[in-house]
Each structure stands twice: as structure tokens, then as C-alpha cells.
């Protein structure tokens, strides 16, 4: 795939990912920030909700600006870089022109190290079947 095509696809992907990430972040923050609604309050008391809307809109604009700048900067850099190094591929196909004839090959085990990490503190310990390798040895 040439570098220009790669740059175009990257821009599209980054835009889609940005929208998804941005929307999820804003939506999650919206849930956290949603104030408790008191049903006994008079209907005309909207000052709290309008302040919340302004704060949310401000956050949206800021995040949109930030993501746009980052994506644009990366795209511009990738395009510029692709123009600078056009065609810089492997000049000597060594896999075809330089065959290796192995005369000795040795793989010596020098160390075995096992680490374990606790993963689940809640609830009773799960009894998972051992994948079938040698039993773990602890150092």
C-alpha cells in the first residue's frame, strides 16, 4: 500500500475513532454530572439545568477542537513525510540473493523465570483448568 493511501486511510480511521471516543467520554461525564431532579421543584426553575448545558457545550467544543488539532497535525506530518522518502525500499533483496547455508545451530536454555499476579480478590476463588503444561515452579 503506498504512503498516500495509508495517510488517507489513517485520517478516516482516526476521525471515526475520535468521534467514538469523544462521544463516549462526553456521554459518561454527562451521566456523572446529571444532577438529581427534584420533582417537587416548580417547572420554571431551570437555572441549574441551563448552567449544566453551558458547561457541557463548553466541554464539547474544547474536546472537538483538541481532537481536530491532533488529527490534523498527524495527517499533515504523514503527508509531508511521505513526500520526503518516496521509494526508499530495500535496495538489495537479500532473501533471494544471499542464501544462508547453516552449518551449526544451538539453542541452550539458560534461565526459566515465572511470575504470578493475583487477578481476582472478590468472591470465592475460581477453579480454572490448568492449560496442560508443566506445573509452575516459583523462584
Amino acid at each position: 500500500m503506498n504512503k498516500i493511501k495509508f495517510a488517507k486511510i489513517s485520517v478516516i480511521l482516526m476521525t471515526v475513532i475520535s468521534i467514538m471516543v469523544f462521544s463516549s467520554v462526553v456521554y459518561a461525564e454527562g451521566i456523572n454530572d446529571t444532577p438529581d431532579v427534584n420533582t417537587n421543584e416548580p417547572a420554571y426553575s431551570t437555572s441549574a439545568s441551563s448552567k449544566h448545558e453551558e458547561k457541557n457545550m463548553g466541554r464539547i467544543i474544547l474536546t472537538a477542537a483538541g481532537i481536530s488539532i491532533v488529527v490534523t497535525a498527524i495527517s499533515v506530518f504523514m503527508i509531508w513525510n511521505s513526500y520526503k522518502t518516496n521509494g526508499q525500499t530495500e535496495p538489495y533483496p537479500y532473501d533471494e540473493k544471499a542464501p544462508l547455508e547453516l552449518t551449526a545451530s544451538d539453542d541452550i536454555l539458560v534461565d526459566t523465570h515465572v511470575e504470578r499476579e493475583r487477578i481476582n480478590r472478590d468472591g470465592p476463588p475460581r477453579d480454572e483448568p490448568h492449560p496442560g503444561g508443566p506445573p509452575p515452579s516459583h523462584r
Binding site: 485520517v11 476521525t15 499533515v76 521509494g87 544462508l100 545451530s105
Partner: protein, 359 residues
């Protein structure tokens, strides 16, 4: 004998090698000739070059500036004009009658190439390929894509050393195999470290190394490779007729250490590629010895273009056999900036609207 101008056997017009026809063509009477027909007419001029033990002394230009001190004077066989050629030029055109001229003196004795790959891509095809190459490049400056710029494209034979080298040696590396599994409340990670040894012989065939000191073109001359070995032919001067050519100015002894270093880097990759089945491999040590080596001197075809933009030189090179291109292209700052601003505005609006309506 200092220069040779190959002339049409029928009408006496200048002969040039035509990559499209794979023959030597006369643009005046439209005749074309094979290599054997030229040899039958001219005799074996290349054999005479081989028999010359060393080049004849050259007449140097009389001025004292740097270029002139390294330049030499030749006489055009066609019109008698004096041609000034710099120290590495081996084929050129007379500036007066535009006849192709081969400076045979510079290809004599030890400087006679062993092999040549004739041009396979004609000038017209090279220009068309270049137009295709730049057709989808939106950010090029407007004048880079003009027809006038294409006239600067020149076919040049460049000198290369081709090295066949049999190396013997090996590597020592550290390799790791990592395994994960879960048991009960625990996640286990087992790391096994191995000392890996690989020994063997690597037979490098036709490793190309530019034999020209010109550092400006060095990268281009490296990355237009590879060439196809199957199309090498024994060298004959007639292939240079109609093109520019450069003679080498890097001798084997001067290139030896650079070649050894490059081959060592390739050897590392080759030995490491033979280490399979590990999650990570790191090289600890390599030793390499040369068992046998043969160097050949070859002329390889390149379509070349220099372009100046904003005071900087840009080089475009195309392999004259396979069409592979290498080049650093100028970027129009204005076009790129306009694209950047446009993309920024569009992205901003899309993300803003997306965020607003998804809430």
C-alpha cells in the same frame, strides 16, 4: 583514439541506442542496427579498449578554477568542436552539433566495465511513468508538474561495483519465549531465556555499490536498486551512445571497508531471520570472515532529474530497467496549509455535531 561517435552505416547521421526497439537507431534515415551489425562495421572497438593497458593522457582545460582543473578537453568527431567534460564523464553530447559522443579513453584498460544493463525504458516511457508518479500527488508545486520540467530528465549510465562475496561466520543471540496461563486467582507468566547460536555461510551475489563519490546522488543511486541480473550483457561502448555516462572514481580498495560494513549489516539480518519460534531475539555477538570475493564493474541505467525549488535541490531517479523510482518531492507549503486548515474545520464541525446529537 579518444572519442567515438557512432554513425549510421547508411546515411552517416548520429546513432543512438533505442530502448523501445532494443537496437541502434538513426533518427535521420530511420534505419536501425543490431549490436553485431555495428561490430561488423566498426570492428571490435571494445576489444581495443581492453588491450589498452592504461588510458591515454588527457588534455586538461587551461583555466585555474576548480572545475577546469578536473576537466578535460576532447574533440567532437562529428563537427570538430571542443568538448569539455568533467573528470567522471564517460559519455555525453556535443554542445554544438548535439551528436552523442563516447569518451572511449575513460573506458579503457582497468576502467573498462565488465558488464552493462542497456536501457529498457525509453525516454517517452520514463516521462509517462513520471507523469503517472506525480499525477496523484496533490501537494506538489504547480511548476514541478510542467512539461518544461520533464525536459530536464536525462538518461545516465552510472558506475557500480557488483560484489560476489562468500562469508563464513555466525551469531550469538539471547532469545526469549514467553508463556501465560491462569490458574485460580492467579495469572502466571513464564519467561524462558535461551542462548542461541547460529553458524553458517552466506553467499552474497551481485551486491551493488555505487562507484561514484558524488554524495548528492548517492542515496538515489542506492534506492533505484535492485536491477535484474538476467539482463546483464558484456560491456560494449555502443550502448552508451545517446545517453550520458559516468566513469567510476571510487576504487575497490577505497570501497572495501564500506562494502564490508554493509554486508555485515545484511549478515546480521540473515542470521537473525534463521532464529525462529521466539517472542524476542537480541543479538549479542557476530563474527564474519570473507572466504572468497569477486568484484565486477558495471554500468547501470538511470533516468535522472534534478529540480530546484525554494533554493533547494530535489532529485528524482528511475531505474532504467525496471522503472522503480526514488525521489524526494518538494511540498507546496501553501497547498498543504490550505489542506490542513480545511481538514481542521471539517473535523471540528463533524466531531462537534456528532457530540451534540449523541448526547
Amino acid at each position: 583514439m579518444e572519442t567515438i561517435a557512432y554513425k549510421c552505416i547508411n546515411c552517416g547521421g548520429p546513432l543512438q541506442y533505442d530502448p523501445a526497439k532494443l537496437k541502434f537507431a538513426c533518427e535521420y534515415c530511420r534505419s536501425d542496427f543490431t549490436e553485431n551489425e555495428l561490430k561488423a562495421h566498426y570492428g571490435d572497438l571494445d576489444q581495443k579498449l581492453s588491450e589498452q593497458s592504461q588510458p591515454e593522457p588527457e588534455q586538461s582545460a587551461n583555466n585555474s578554477d576548480d572545475f577546469s582543473m578536473n576537466a578535460a578537453l576532447y574533440v567532437c568527431e562529428n563537427c570538430g568542436a571542443e568538448i569539455i567534460a568533467d573528470k567522471t564523464t564517460a559519455a555525453t553530447f556535443c554542445v554544438y552539433c548535439h551528436s552523442p559522443v563516447v569518451i572511449s579513453n575513460r573506458l579503457a584498460g582497468a576502467f573498462k566495465p565488465n558488464m552493462v544493463i542497456p536501457f529498457k525504458i525509453s525516454e517517452e516511457d520514463a516521462k509517462n511513468k513520471f507523469k503517472d508518479f506525480i499525477s496523484r500527488k496533490w501537494f506538489l508545486p504547480k511548476d514541478f508538474v510542467s512539461g518544461a520540467q520533464l525536459d530536464y530528465m536525462k538518461g545516465v549510465y552510472y558506475p557500480y561495483w557488483l560484489i560476489d562475496s562468500l562469508k563464513d561466520g555466525g551469531i550469538e543471540a539471547a532469545a526469549k519465549r514467553i508463556r501465560h496461563w491462569t490458574e485460580g486467582d492467579y495469572r502466571y507468566t513464564e519467561t524462558k531465556t535461551y542462548k542461541v547460536i547460529r553458524r553458517g555461510r552466506i553467499n552474497f551475489k551481485g551486491f551493488p555499490f555505487s562507484a561514484l563519490k558524488d554524495t548528492e546522488h548517492h542515496k538515489a543511486l542506492k534506492y533505484v536498486n535492485p536491477y535484474k541480473d538476467s539482463e546483464f550483457r558484456p560491456f560494449t561502448m555502443s550502448y552508451l551512445s545517446g545517453f550520458l555516462a559516468e566513469k567510476r572514481d571510487i576504487e575497490r580498495k577505497d570501497a572495501q571497508s564500506d562494502v564490508d560494513n554493509e554486508l555485515k549489516e545484511y549478515a546480521k539480518k540473515i542470521y537473525l531471520d534463521s532464529v525462529q519460534g521466539y517472542d524476542s531475539v537480541s543479538l549479542k555477538n557476530i563474527d564474519l570472515r570473507t572466504k572468497k570475493e569477486a568484484w565486477k564493474y558495471a554500468m547501470m541505467p538511470v533516468w535522472f532529474m534534478n529540480y530546484k525549488y525554494n533554493g533547494k535541490d530535489y532529485i528524482y531517479a528511475m531505474n532504467g530497467q525496471t522503472g522503480k523510482t526514488f525521489g524526494e518531492l518538494p511540498v507546496s507549503g501553501g497547498k498543504l496549509a490550505a489542506f490542513g486548515v480545511g481538514l481542521l474545520i471539517v473535523l471540528f464541525l463533524v466531531i462537534l455535531l456528532g457530540g451534540y446529537f449523541l448526547l
